[in-house]
């Protein structure tokens, strides 16, 4: 079976790298992006199955804003939100793509993996 593709949008380099290592060890093809621009570039090149999106992305774009833009490029993808503030996310998520799952940081990788496997 072909590897499923995951787009990982995360501004913290250590977290981005760690999650990529973990997911790749479980057989996924992962592209990491630090910014909305980089994420959109990858989205134009690859048909991602899942987008893991940190909702606190810096450099002028909110995570929800980025997720909305990515949803336009990747309508088939399932979106997973990674956030440090679930309550704040729930209060301000109007207009954002429907997230299939929301994970609060620090992220439990086993739970995240289970969610991804259920989606793909």
């Amino acid at each position: 079976m072909a590897k499923r593709a995951i787009l990982l949008l995360e501004d913290d380099a250590d977290t981005r790298e760690s999650l990529r290592w973990l997911l790749e060890e479980d057989g996924y093809h992962v592209r990491g992006a630090e910014t909305m621009e980089q994420a959109l570039t990858w989205a134009a090149q690859t048909r991602f199955d899942v987008v893991c999106c940190d909702l606190h992305v810096q450099r002028g774009h909110s995570g929800l804003e980025v997720a909305g833009a990515l949803h336009t490029e990747l309508p088939q993808a399932r979106f997973i939100a990674l956030t440090g503030d679930v309550s704040g996310f729930l209060e301000s998520s109007e207009g954002a793509p429907a997230f299939a799952a929301v994970f609060q940081k620090p992220v439990d990788y086993a739970a995240l993996l289970a969610a991804i496997e259920a989606f793909v």
């Binding site: 913290d12 250590d14 977290t15 790298e17 760690s18 999650l19 290592w21 973990l22 060890e25 606190h56 440090g84 503030d85 609060q104 940081k105 620090p106 992220v107 439990d108 990788y109 086993a110």
Partner: protein
């Protein structure tokens, strides 16, 4: 070819051919001694250590690093240094204590974060947590994990722990700048919240800490309890001199004040330490102290009862200022 020298408590030596595959030796079920850090001057940081399985291939070359899984399931990083015909080994706990710390953090800090530092704290915690999970994941799913594969996640854990502690130091400094700390509830609460990161790490370690309050601290309204709090919050990187030493300078207005803190560490027998496990219970502390020492003026002395006395000197001395 040199000798492979392992030192065991209470101080006897075992030699084996340097080119013997260590894993074969381990598989024979013999106890392996783990040395303390040779960079800690005259430290008795060595411990008897049983290895049930050797999780990684061992390359006994200079500077080799590998991981071992102890019988109780804890995962340790062992670093070998080859010098003067001898191989010195240093061990540090990795996944188990970090994982327990992460679990504590998850439960204690999840809903109680510090205003203005939430993102930084959570980012650091998240990176620490994920890399601890990565190490556990790799060692659980593979027969062989090379040292090189552990170095990067371990490096991230260490650097982000330092970052956490620096955040704590910033909070400590803010707290101590206030004129009337007793009337200010929030900064103290902030300190407590931030201090949970280090305290959670230390909570996984079966030791008892005691601190002798320096004479200098007695006149500035810091209780023993609060000094302990500072130490617990900042012990991991207290060597960076932005912790208690700078706090003293801030509190006294003396830029050249040097604070000497005497910290005694003993195994906590009441927390399940077995007979013969004294040194093993202290070994995790060695990893913590390794990060704290190295500033030249610190002293670590082994005690007859198996404990250690650590004297930290903080703040700039007149010689350093000039």
């Amino acid at each position: 070819m040199g000798s492979f020298v392992l030192r065991e408590l209470p101080g006897w030596w075992r030699e084996m051919p340097f080119d013997d595959p260590l894993y074969a030796w381990v598989q024979q079920g013999q106890a392996v001694a783990v040395l303390g850090n040779s960079t800690i001057r005259d430290a008795a940081a060595c411990a008897e250590f049983d290895l049930a399985t050797l999780a990684v291939h061992v390359d006994m070359g200079q500077g080799a690093t590998f991981a071992v899984r102890a019988r109780e399931g804890a995962l340790w990083r062992v670093q070998c240094e080859h010098a003067s015909g001898q191989v010195w080994m240093r061990a540090e706990p990795i996944a188990a204590s970090v994982r327990r710390a992460e679990q504590l953090l998850r439960s204690q800090l999840a809903d109680r974060v510090v205003d203005g530092m939430e993102h930084e704290l959570r980012s650091a915690l998240n990176a620490i947590s994920l890399n601890a999970q990565l190490i556990v994941h790799r060692t659980a799913t593979r027969k062989v994990v090379t040292g090189a594969e552990l170095e990067r996640p371990l490096g991230i854990i260490q650097s982000r722990l330092i970052e956490l502690t620096q955040l704590q130091h910033a909070l400590i400094d803010d707290w101590l700048r206030l004129e009337d700390v007793d009337s200010m509830v929030d900064p103290v609460q902030m300190l407590k919240e931030a201090g949970k990161a280090s305290r959670a790490c230390l909570a996984a370690i079966p030791v008892e800490l005691d601190v002798k309050v320096p004479e200098q601290m007695r006149g500035i309204g810091l209780s023993r309890k609060r000094l302990m709090l500072i130490l617990l919050a900042g012990i991991i990187t207290v060597a960076d001199a932005t912790g208690a030493g700078s706090a003293l300078q801030l509190a006294t207005g003396d830029d050249e004040a040097v604070l000497r803190i005497e910290l005694t560490i003993r195994p906590a027998l009441s927390r399940g330490t077995q007979t013969g496990g004294t040194a093993r219970s202290l070994l995790p502390v060695a990893g913590v102290l390794t990060w704290s020492l190295g500033q030249g003026r610190d002293e670590l002395v082994s005690l007859a009862d198996g404990g250690w006395r650590l004297t930290l000197a903080r703040g700039r001395s007149p010689e350093e200022s000039s």
